[in-house]
């Protein structure tokens, strides 16, 4: 058998696979949350702020209590509160959901930097991971297959959400509100309440996505922790055509694009590092251009969405 360190160029694809699984998890949670919100007919562009706030509150909680899982829960709760704020603000007549999202993006990051200042130095306990690569002699493979349980929760959540939206009474109400608000009103449902709750649930998931950033990978809290992942996840939903299962595949694609730069760096290729950093944004933009058209609304979009009108 080869010496474990002599994987050579194979190190790149293996690092990309491992990196993809790690990096895609926050994308997955944010995009699932945003799918839920958008199915009800609203866009929350503020999930970037929710993500950062979730990361900070999870880290602070884990540091203060010693329990990272409690941190995950607190992150979700904080995310739900931010979502509720978005939902309530947009329930007011003539208040634009996209603009409120931008405001909450700035408020969320500002709050997180403000409240999180004391937690930049201390080290908080991290979430445990499952060592699925223990069978391998190669440290690279073992490292790539260290997988966080949150990833599996997200993987299970995607088909569950798809089933729930398609087959349950709740799911039907959400879709009705998102596709035809007048019909929903005629049936006696409060469009505002359903949308506020949908945004709240979406915020909960995005907050959990944030806890993954600070409590697992990269596993630290600082002001540069998230650089637009929350925002890209919102765009990712368009490409996934509001289908939770497709969100999972597209999250993997985005995770891969983000993992490429660090993977190349790990084998010593550091040239153009910043350009690889732009890859996920450029990919998002390219996908957005590809899926848009002036002739028709975005395919699969809930028809009450402001961007499909």
């Amino acid at each position: 058998m080869q010496a474990p360190t002599e994987l050579g160029w194979w190190g790149v694809p293996i690092a990309v696979v491992g990196g993809t699984i790690r990096v895609s998890t926050p994308y997955l949670f944010v995009s699932l949350g945003e799918t839920l919100t958008e199915k009800g007919g609203r866009i929350n562009l503020g999930l970037e702020g929710t993500l950062v706030m979730g990361a900070m509150s999870a880290y602070a909680t884990a540091y203060a209590t010693g329990s990272p899982w409690l941190g995950v829960l607190v992150a979700g709760t904080v995310g739900a509160l931010l979502g509720l704020l978005h939902g309530l603000a947009c329930n007011l007549p003539r208040v634009n959901d996209i603009a409120v999202g931008i405001a909450l993006f700035l408020l969320g990051t500002g709050l997180a930097f403000y409240l999180g200042k004391p937690y930049i130095e201390p080290v908080a306990p991290q979430l445990p991971s499952l060592a699925l690569g223990a069978w391998s002699a190669y440290p690279q493979i073992r490292a790539a297959l260290e997988i966080n349980p949150l990833f599996f929760i997200g993987v299970a959540l995607a088909p569950l959400m798809r089933w729930g939206l398609g087959n349950t009474r709740c799911g039907l109400i959400v879709r009705t509100v998102g596709d035809n608000a007048d019909a929903a009103r005629t049936l006696g449902y409060s469009v505002e309440r359903v949308r506020a709750l949908g945004t709240m649930a979406g915020g909960f998931l995005a907050g959990i996505g944030g806890s993954f950033l600070s409590l697992y990978y990269p596993g630290t809290w600082n002001e540069g922790l998230s650089s637009g992942q929350g925002l890209m996840a919102v765009t990712l939903v368009i490409f996934a055509r509001w289908n939770p299962v497709a969100c999972f595949y597209v999250s993997l694609l985005f995770g891969g694009a983000t993992a490429l730069g660090p993977a190349l760096q790990s084998v010593g290729i550091t040239a153009n590092y910043y350009l690889y950093g732009a890859a996920p944004y450029a990919l998002t933009l390219a996908l957005l251009i590809w899926s848009s058209s002036t002739k028709h609304a975005l395919v699969g979009a809930p028809s009450e969405l402001t961007i499909s009108k």
Partner: protein, 347 residues
């Protein structure tokens, strides 16, 4: 009618500002601070003395230009939030143009640098306008993504292709020629970007309020169908509005290079573009309002240092106030037209 609606705008905006300050006061009270003392420090740090005022105006200068980047397209019904990226691209374009101007006299070279910055930003946001017009791409999401792409491109350029290796502390581009640098306005420590910002806002006001183009933009923003029916050249309006918007933010980037830093680096992307979005909303897309609101928000960020020194508040405290203000201002949209006071004097 115009006077009445500006009275309504002024009243509601002032009320939103007061409510935001009250919420922020409650927020700092949670830390055991006296809100009144924080307010007084906020004011002192922003407008308390000539030194503070100069710093406030320096902060306000780029905000006027990035504010226009959101305000102009918003009048045409587009929500453009790419001021940060356009500013960065403007700064990069300025540095690139500077490389070819070593022998050119300042009187000619500095305007060329400003034009280069405006062109860089204009093409950047104009591209989003073109995508919107011919491909139906949502301009809000596109411009937000372009911000991140612009910053990545700049980081790439200043860490290699245009890096000045004599600067060891942080990656920075090579400097523009020394004789093309603009200093401060005489007798002050405020750079010339302020004069440029005010001038461009005034020009934008003339363009939007006194020309056919401005009227066409407002018609398009009010009702797309109506604009189509009367045969307005919609593609040209969208493209012009987005190019002008980007040019304004690009000019802000040019002044950050020509009058402040002398080179491009990560210090271009410090959030002027994002605060500009708030400026535009608070000014309700009026170019003259942009001037006033920029000074106000410039004051808030200028006072961050004083809050930090006096009360030990993190420098992000002003970001929190900015965020609260943004949410309250948007929510206040709902009360327009609800007060009889502003409607009573009609006819």
């Amino acid at each position: 009618m115009l006077a009445r609606s500006s009275a309504e705008t002024a009243t509601i905006s002032a009320a939103a500002l007061l409510l935001s300050l009250a919420l922020f006061g409650g927020f700092v009270a949670l830390r055991g601070l006296n809100p009144l003392e924080v307010y007084s420090a906020l004011f002192a740090g922003a407008f308390g003395n000539w030194f503070a005022i100069q710093y406030t105006l320096t902060q306000a200068a780029p905000l006027m230009l990035t504010g226009l980047c959101t305000a102009i397209p918003a009048r045409a019904g587009l929500l453009v939030i790419g001021g940060e990226g356009a500013l960065v691209m403007g700064g990069v374009a300025t540095v690139l143009a500077g490389a070819g101007l070593t022998g050119v006299p300042a009187l000619l070279g500095i305007p060329i640098l400003c034009l280069a910055g405006a062109a860089g930003g204009g093409l950047w946001i104009g591209a989003a306008g073109a995508l919107r017009q011919w491909r139906g791409v949502n301009e809000t999401i596109a411009t937000l993504l372009l911000n991140y792409i612009a910053i990545a491109v700049m980081n790439h350029l200043v860490s290699g292709p245009i890096r000045d290796f004599s600067q060891v502390l942080k990656p920075a581009s090579w400097p523009i020629p020394e004789h093309l640098r603009l200093g401060d306005m005489p007798g002050t420590s405020i750079h010339w970007g302020l004069a440029a910002g005010i001038l461009v806002c005034l020009l934008a006001w003339v363009l939007m309020r006194k020309t056919t183009f401005g009227f066409a933009v407002d018609v398009l923003g009010g009702n797309v169908r109506a604009a189509q029916l009367v045969g307005l050249p919609i593609a040209r309006i969208v493209l012009t509005a987005t190019v002008l918007a980007g040019a304004a933010a690009g000019l802000a980037g040019a002044f950050e290079v020509v009058a402040v830093h002398g080179f491009a680096s990560a210090s271009l992307a410090v959030g002027f573009g994002y605060t500009g979005i708030l400026v535009a909303f608070l000014a309700r897309q009026s170019p003259l309002g942009v001037i006033l609101v920029s000074i106000l928000l410039g004051g808030i960020s200028a006072s961050g240092g004083l809050l930090q020194r006096h009360f030990g508040l993190p420098d992000a405290a002003t970001l929190v106030l900015r965020g609260i203000l943004f949410v309250v201002v948007l929510a206040s949209n709902t009360v327009y037209g609800r007060f009889r006071l502003f409607q009573g004097r009609a006819v």
